[in-house]
């Protein structure tokens, strides 16, 4: 439990996200960063020379026990020393990173970074393009949707570390007692929620957290909405209140109006207890959810199952992603080659990546690792012996690509609580809440000097 709650994905949920006094945009460039094109190629001879030279790298990460993976790296490259620093996770991590970058000293060589934060650092031109340092060659190991999160064209900004394709975890016993079939479409989910509530008035089919934009954005992603885009220069797209977006919130609004959902904030004590006590019969969550749940609701072991999310169109199964992180190299690094090799080694060398997957339980982004029997055939007693990883591997293949982010997700996430989140908590008009979110984000973008596409 304790190691799990410290896991990287929690940073995604940390909504009181922060930036620091002088944020991402360094040096007042009126023009913003240049359009991306792949950087210089480094030859194998350069890499060998750099890895043989005594070097000390600083690595900021919040992954527990990552020392084990770093040990493997140091064993392979005895000349390189890695100093691990944990400056906190989520908001404090980015706050300190921005401060270090701004002050021009103390920034790490390699840093952990969640997918949705990458654009806020490319905005300030702070991340090194590692495509020429070997990252260009690993593209084939990843599903398209994962790769598109860390790259723009030929430019690669980070090495994926873990991801969170979304599925549905549910209580087999509770649904069976209530006589409710596991819904495979969202339409069926609405009916199931009402039926379940009728059969078991003490419990809800699921909870819609009013403080969790990550989950809602995952639903939007699945439904085909593309609310955010950033061209890398001055133009952003804010399209939360699209047709697909309205379709998603209308569905949840219908369940709220029918009284078949609870609206408890998630990742609070009360919510943990709700999961353990059967207040919620299911949890639509990401691939990191199963292990997290295992730590939170121990006494319900054996009762849970994992399936794909309910679908909008069963003929074309789709999913979205919630959470996950990467390792990125900062442009300010004095040892870019060694730094890039560290990020690459930890996440792509088989021994190290397998360790991350099986010991730290990070859900691997790489298909090579996912197909490894050690990961794919792992049976989980908590899920009644189900091969949960295999289920989520199948789900991962259905995540639709080309989902983008804005270079100021801190604001987007926090503002959710004031707009759509508030509408959820008040069981009010979700469509109006979505529109309010759209307006606030678009307003902020304009205020910050961006052009809206």
């Amino acid at each position: 439990m304790s190691t799990l709650t410290r896991r990287g994905f929690l940073g995604t949920m940390s909504l009181a996200s922060a930036a620091v006094f002088f944020a991402a945009c360094s040096g007042g460039g009126d023009d913003g960063p240049a359009a991306p094109s792949a950087g210089p190629q480094v030859s194998q001879a350069d890499i060998d020379a750099a890895m043989a030279k005594p070097t000390t790298l600083t690595f900021w990460t919040w992954v527990p026990d990552i020392q084990n993976e770093v040990d493997l790296f140091e064993k392979k490259y005895p000349a390189i020393k890695v100093e691990l620093v944990n400056v906190g996770q989520g908001a404090p991590h980015y706050q300190k990173l921005r401060a270090a970058i701004q002050s021009g000293q103390g920034a790490p060589d390699v840093t952990q970074m969640e997918f949705q934060y990458i654009p806020s650092f490319t905005l300030g031109d702070n991340l090194l393009d590692i495509s020429g340092y070997g990252a260009g060659a690993i593209k084939d190991q990843y599903p398209e949707w994962v790769w598109s999160q860390v790259s723009t064209g030929d430019v690669v900004y980070a090495v994926p570390q873990d991801v969170g394709p979304m599925g549905l975890l549910y209580r087999d016993d509770l649904l069976a007692d209530a006589g409710v079939e596991v819904p495979t479409t969202w339409e069926a989910f609405v009916t199931a929620a009402a039926d379940y509530r009728k059969a078991n008035p003490k419990s809800y089919l699921t909870n819609l957290a009013p403080n969790q934009p990550g989950q809602i954005i995952g639903y939007l992603w699945q439904a085909g909405a593309r609310p955010f885009a950033y061209d890398g220069d001055k133009t952003v797209t804010v399209d939360l209140a699209s047709e697909a977006g309205k379709k998603v919130v209308a569905l949840w609004g219908e369940m709220l109006a029918a009284g078949s959902l609870s609206v408890d904030p998630d990742f609070t004590d009360s919510w943990y207890q709700g999961l353990a006590n059967g207040k919620y019969a299911s949890w639509p969550t990401a691939a990191w959810g199963p292990v997290f749940l295992q730590g939170t609701a121990k006494k319900t072991s054996g009762q849970w199952r994992a399936v794909p999310l309910p679908q909008w169109d069963e003929a074309a199964p789709a999913s979205g992603n919630w959470g996950g992180s990467t390792d990125a190299v900062l442009k300010s690094s004095a040892n870019p080659i060694a730094a890039a090799q560290l990020a690459l080694y930890i996440n792509t060398a088989k021994e190290s990546a397998l360790k991350l997957a099986t010991e730290q339980f990070l859900f691997p982004p790489s298909t090579t690792i996912l197909e490894d029997p050690e990961v794919a055939d792992q049976e989980s007693p908590f899920f009644g012996g189900q091969k949960v990883n295999a289920t989520f591997t199948e789900i991962s293949a259905t995540v639709t690509p080309d989902f983008g982010w804005l270079p100021f997700m801190d604001f987007v996430y926090t503002n959710f609580n004031e707009t759509l989140g508030k509408a959820i908590a008040d069981k009010g008009d979700l469509t109006a809440g979505l529109q309010a979110w759209q307006d606030a984000v678009a307003g902020y973008a304009k205020d910050q000097g961006f052009t809206l596409a």
Binding site: G32, P265, S270, F408, D410, F411, N415, N417, Q448, G449
Partner: protein
């Protein structure tokens, strides 16, 4: 008030002395300055410089795209018409009116009760009332967040056993009073100690004189004790005014259990924090902080003025 029995030094003797300081005197002065120097260094570095810097920042505007530009008082003008900021100040003003009288009334009551010497175990009780102040407000807010829990909090569970709905501690109306409760719990003991200390310094002869005149204990409390602790009460009022407008920890932590009830601008301080660290708008946050400082200064001054008038009248 102290009577003026100290003889005023004659002016004629003074000026020549000053110019011709003896070596010993000089050394003394130097030593004195040396002793207060650390204070001034810290005062300068920790108070004056940050204040000046924040003031400087508040005159600029920095955008993610477009960089920094000088805008003069634009941030201040914006704040004065910013509904979020104004409503947060109004909320705190309401909070002040409701919370402070209750808190100080109870503090005074406890202080008088302890001072009367009629309570057994007064030392333990005094400590008991004071202990919440020693609990860090972060811990206090976490604890109360648990107690207020709508599903598994103890109050909700007791209500559930009695077949009642859970008390609405964390709803948008309930939250105001829930925070008042936490703040009262934390600070009643603190204010009580200040008032109690003032009570202890009242010369006992006054009580004796009162008793000789046939005054009851109640009468003594009303006519002797309370007037004598007025300076202490005024001090606690000023502390409370400042504390109220600076409210941050309690709402910030209760926000995790009621994220949609406590918005970014629930209190002015929370608003400034969100502006700086979420919106990445330090300049506007600095302007908000300065305006908040002005509100606090004005109110503290008003309290003192009101007190002085009262004192002059009596």
């Amino acid at each position: 008030m102290a009577t003026a029995t100290v003889p005023t030094p004659t002016r004629s003797a003074d000026p020549p002395r000053r110019r011709g300081l003896t070596v010993a005197k000089k050394r003394q002065y130097r030593a004195a300055y040396l002793f207060v120097l650390p204070f001034f260094v810290i005062f300068l570095a920790m108070i004056i410089v940050p204040l000046a810097y924040a003031g400087y920042l508040s005159f600029f505007r920095r955008q993610l795209i477009g960089g920094v530009s000088f805008v003069g008082f634009e941030n201040y003008a914006k704040a004065l018409t910013d509904a979020s900021f104004l409503s947060s100040v109004a909320r705190m003003a309401g909070f002040l009116v409701v919370q402070v009288p209750v808190m100080l009334g109870l503090s005074l009551f406890f202080a008088l009760a302890l001072d009367s010497g009629m309570t057994r175990l007064s030392k333990i009780i005094r400590l008991g009332i004071f202990v919440p102040y020693a609990v860090p407000s972060v811990v206090a807010a976490l604890m109360w967040g648990y107690l207020y829990g709508p599903d598994f909090g103890p109050f909700a569970q007791v209500a559930g056993l009695l077949g009642l709905p859970a008390p609405p501690f964390l709803t948008s109306t309930g939250m105001f009073f829930s925070i008042i409760n936490v703040v009262n719990w934390e600070f009643i003991g603190y204010n009580m100690i200040i008032i109690y200390a003032a009570l202890r310094s009242i010369p006992p002869e006054l009580y004796e004189a009162g008793r000789v005149d046939g005054a009851s204990e109640k009468r003594i409390a009303w006519s002797i004790k309370i007037p004598h602790v007025r300076p202490a009460l005024v001090l606690t009022v000023i502390f409370s005014v400042i504390g109220t407008f600076q409210l941050f920890n309690e709402p910030n932590l209760l926000r995790t259990v009621a994220p949609t009830v406590i918005g970014n601008a629930y209190t002015p301080n929370l608003y400034a924090y969100s502006l700086a660290f979420v919106n990445q708008d330090v300049n506007y946050a600095a302007a908000i902080a300065f305006l908040l400082g002005i509100v606090i200064m004005a109110l503290s001054y008003a309290v003192q003025l009101w007190n002085q008038r009262k004192e002059n009248r009596s």
